[in-house]
């Protein structure tokens, strides 16, 4: 088993309550192939039996080269202190605030391109959605270090019905992602690129902007300045540069060439002396300039930038005309669109954190979400953790299915839980 590459490992933290190697039976017929066994007591019998079963055992993630570990957060809608399950706290938009690890996985992957990203987060009690934990990480290309709360681990050992059901549901999601490795066959699509050093003085704002862009469902590409190349701009409509100081030399020239060719460049106020002529559009927070076929939006204020305003202004400055994904009735959703390397297909992965209406929240997915996907697709197959794949055809009157347009498809989705993927073909 030691020959397995880090990227192929599916890790699980061995629960401290599972003291006997017989507990390994819970992992039989699953894709879990790596156990993280921590603590001073090495549980030698477990280690030996696991290794006999072909499972790699590690005692700390530092043992694994090529793995970057993110200390994650529990995904989901943040519930208010006083409210129950139907009450959620709101962010600046009035919409509920969603906790997700997706943005940090994308960021870490961009900063550590040769690494596999593992996310370390342990639910606090069995009521947490374990499937949501798995989906929130895997949809964005990361691996969750499967970690059970004490109560659930004990319940599984006891054979408690509810705990066993939760475990089965979790394993269902693990199996799904093990057998649908979109990360290896597809690459992310994007409308806007975010160019930054993502470090030092630029770290706080650039990280926050990426986090908030994720909440808009805008598809974006993270471009660390150190790895910028002409290819970084491929397929993009806009570049957002949250760093206070403009890059010089070659990068500046390539950005201006991008604008000349029709792109939009969004910058901080320090990016003065930009070429071009004043644009005829007005914006409360940006001065516009026209350069060639494209334009430049330079922030008016020299004050510290507001990450929320920057992310949301960027989406509007770019325009919803270029949306790759557009949702209706989806509740709180994160979405990740990626294209097949042969250009003949795509996959939309959707993570649903909550359904909501007028601020009233409920855990779970939507009953009748619609997503419109830009592109000339002709087939669509819906995949979920617990149901047979469903081919979406011409919808019946007001029903589930796919409407094909010249440049897009509109997918009318059935009731969903926390995750769904749609594989699109041309």
């Amino acid at each position: 088993m030691s020959g397995i590459m880090s990227s192929e490992l599916i890790p699980m933290r061995w629960p401290s309550q599972w003291r006997d190697s017989s507990a390994l039976q819970h992992l039989s017929n699953t894709h879990i192939n790596c156990l993280l066994i921590e603590g001073p007591d090495p549980l030698q019998s477990v280690v030996e039996q696991a290794q006999k079963n072909g499972i790699r055992v590690i005692h700390g993630t530092s043992e694994l080269p090529g793995v970057t570990v993110v200390q994650g957060i529990l995904p989901g809608v943040r519930l208010s202190r006083t409210g129950g399950r139907n009450t959620a706290s709101s962010g600046p938009t009035g919409l509920p605030w969603v906790n997700s690890n997706g943005w940090e996985i994308l960021l870490m992957a961009a900063l550590n391109p040769k690494s596999t990203i593992w996310v370390d987060v342990t639910p606090k009690d069995p009521s947490e959605s374990y499937q949501l934990c798995a989906a929130d990480v895997a949809a964005f290309g990361g691996n969750w270090i499967i970690s059970l709360d004490d109560q659930l681990a004990a319940g599984i050992e006891r054979g408690d019905g509810a705990s066993v059901e939760t475990w089965k549901g979790l394993i269902e999601s693990v199996e799904f992602f093990a057998t649908h490795n979109y990360k290896s066959a597809y690459s992310g699509s994007a409308v806007v690129g975010v160019l930054s050093s993502f470090s030092d003085d630029n770290k706080a704002l650039s990280w926050e902007v990426v986090k908030l862009l994720t909440r808009t469902t805008e598809q974006y590409r993270i471009i660390p300045i150190g790895s910028f190349s002409a290819d970084s701009l491929s397929g993009l409509q806009a570049m957002l540069c949250p760093d206070s100081d403009p890059p010089g030399g070659t990068i500046r020239k390539q950005l201006l060439d991008f604008v000349q060719a029709g792109g939009l460049l969004i910058t901080r106020s320090a990016w003065q002396d930009m070429p071009g002529t004043p644009a005829d559009w007005e914006h409360p927070r940006y001065d516009g300039r026209v350069l060639g076929k494209g334009s430049i939006a330079v922030a008016k204020s020299k004050d510290a930038a507001d990450a929320y305003a920057m992310a949301n202004d960027a989406v509007v400055l770019v325009s919803h005309r270029f949306d790759l994904l557009r949702f209706w009735n989806a509740g709180s959703v994160s979405a990740f669109l990626s294209q097949a390397s042969d250009g003949k297909g795509a996959v939309v992965q959707m993570v649903f954190y909550a359904r909501e209406l007028n601020g009233k929240m409920a855990l779970g997915g939507p009953e009748n979400a619609t997503v419109k996907v830009a592109g000339r697709y002709r087939t669509a197959r819906l995949l979920t953790f617990d149901k047979q794949p469903l081919t979406l055809g011409q919808p019946d009157d007001h029903g589930v299915g796919m409407l094909i347009d010249e440049h897009s498809v509109e997918l009318h989705l059935p009731p969903l839980s926390c995750y769904a993927a749609v594989e699109l073909g041309v």
């Binding site: 409360p284 509007v316 209706w328 009735n329 209406l357 009953e367 009748n368 007001h398 009731p415």
Partner: protein, 411 residues
């Protein structure tokens, strides 16, 4: 009426009222009958552009011709895009249920351009300060389709100051039920002709929503919103119009406060009165109601028990009270009904509601009496749709169409 001079008069009234410190007098019943005007009803089964153009063209001719109204004029068309653009009734496009259909807007714009409109501005106050075109794109419309239907077409989100340099104060000529005047986006005083393009819908709070209620949305949330600034407008507004709905707070201080802050805070009392005040302050020169496809049971997919309906109707007129009276009748509702009877008996949380048509009639804006309204084209009794019956049939056929996936049990 010379609409160009009306534009000037509206503005002038605002400024002179400020100077005079506009005092309020309770509106009294009209001594003379409220004015009336013909209302045209057209049957139109689809949003096919050919069918729409021919139907609307004929209806405008029946009203005396569109040229008479818009030739050489700057026109503002207030469309109805209530709620967020990411809400649908089931899987249905927003224009088929609770938004004015983009096809109807496009057809009307085209006909206005042909009739000589100098400039046409599409206006709506979406729940933020994003450009209106972006809201339409989120709704899955292409604003270029509307913009290319005539020359000099543009868009403005009137939920804040927008492209103007200052707000326009429009005074309620009869003194107002709730407010003596309003501070509005410049688009509402810059136009010579104001068009309300509504949807043929019922409404949770006010019983129905047609051309008059559509004007509730001309108020900027920067001033009248729940998050509006106390002294100055908040030019990055969020949320709804709590100031007008529940009256828990007053508008930003640059706008005139309510006439009587001790009056009822009930939605069903306040909203109809605010609507009448608004329609008096910014008269509607032309009303167009899209009833080709719509929804019954409420104004948006968030209302419980709503259903898709296809009345196949268009309505147009030049007196908003008369036009809306006909619109009510076409939904199977009685425009002479009032608080305590359908559809004003059980309006959402507030319990009951006043009929805004009665209030408008009392303020002298127009008549709601169908006996005094000349209906041209289709006859009401031949084409009226029983919304309640259609809702029952639709729910039976399609089942409930929840929005955003929320189950009734969870609300």
């Amino acid at each position: 009426v010379n609409t160009h001079s009306r534009r000037e008069v509206i503005k002038a009234m605002g400024y002179s009222a400020i100077a005079a410190g506009a005092s309020w007098k309770a509106p009294s019943l009209m001594a003379s009958p409220a004015p009336t005007a013909p209302v045209a009803i057209g049957t139109c089964k689809t949003y096919n552009s050919v069918e729409l153009l021919s139907t609307l063209d004929k209806m405008f001719d029946q009203l005396g011709g569109l040229k008479r109204i818009v030739n050489g004029k700057t026109v503002a068309i207030k469309i109805n895009c209530t709620g967020e653009a990411t809400w649908r009734l089931g899987y249905l496009p927003l224009g088929d249920t609770h938004y004015t259909s983009p096809e109807v807007i496009t057809a009307a714009v085209h006909l206005m351009g042909k009739a000589g409109a100098k400039r046409i501005r599409i206006v709506e106050s979406s729940f933020s300060s994003v450009p209106l075109e972006e809201l339409l794109l989120q709704a899955d419309w292409d604003p270029r389709q509307i913009a290319s239907a005539a020359s000099n077409v543009d868009f403005e989100n009137t939920n804040f100051l927008g492209k103007g340099k200052k707000y326009s104060r429009l005074v309620v000529p009869f003194g107002g039920y709730l407010f003596p005047a309003f501070e509005l986006n410049h688009s509402y005083s810059d136009c010579d002709v104001f068009v309300s393009m509504a949807k043929l819908k019922e409404h949770e709070t006010t019983g129905f929503t047609l051309s008059m209620k559509n004007c509730f949305g001309i108020t900027p949330c920067s001033i009248y919103g729940s998050t509006a600034g106390i002294d100055e407008p908040d030019e990055n507004p969020r949320g709804g119009r709590g100031t007008l709905h529940s009256g828990k707070r007053q508008p930003s201080k640059i706008a005139p406060a309510e006439l009587d802050p001790t009056s009822s805070r009930q939605d069903g009392y306040r909203v109809p009165r605010a609507v009448v005040d608004l329609v008096a302050a910014r008269p509607i020169d032309l009303q167009i109601i899209d009833g080709v496809k719509s929804m019954s049971g409420g104004e948006g997919p968030w209302a419980p028990g709503v259903a898709f309906v296809q009345p196949g109707l268009l309505v147009a007129g030049t007196n908003p009270v008369a036009t809306d009276a006909v619109g009510m009748a076409l939904m199977g509702l009685d425009p002479m009904a009032d608080r305590g009877s359908h559809p004003f008996a059980a309006c959402d949380k507030s319990g009951a509601c006043d009929n805004m048509l009665r209030l408008a009639e009392q303020a002298g804006l127009g008549t709601r009496d169908l006996n005094r309204i000349e209906v041209i084209g289709a006859r009401i009794k031949d084409v009226a749709v029983n919304y309640a019956a259609q809702r029952t049939a639709s729910l039976k056929r399609y089942g409930p169409l929840p929005t955003r996936g929320i189950s009734p049990a969870l609300t």
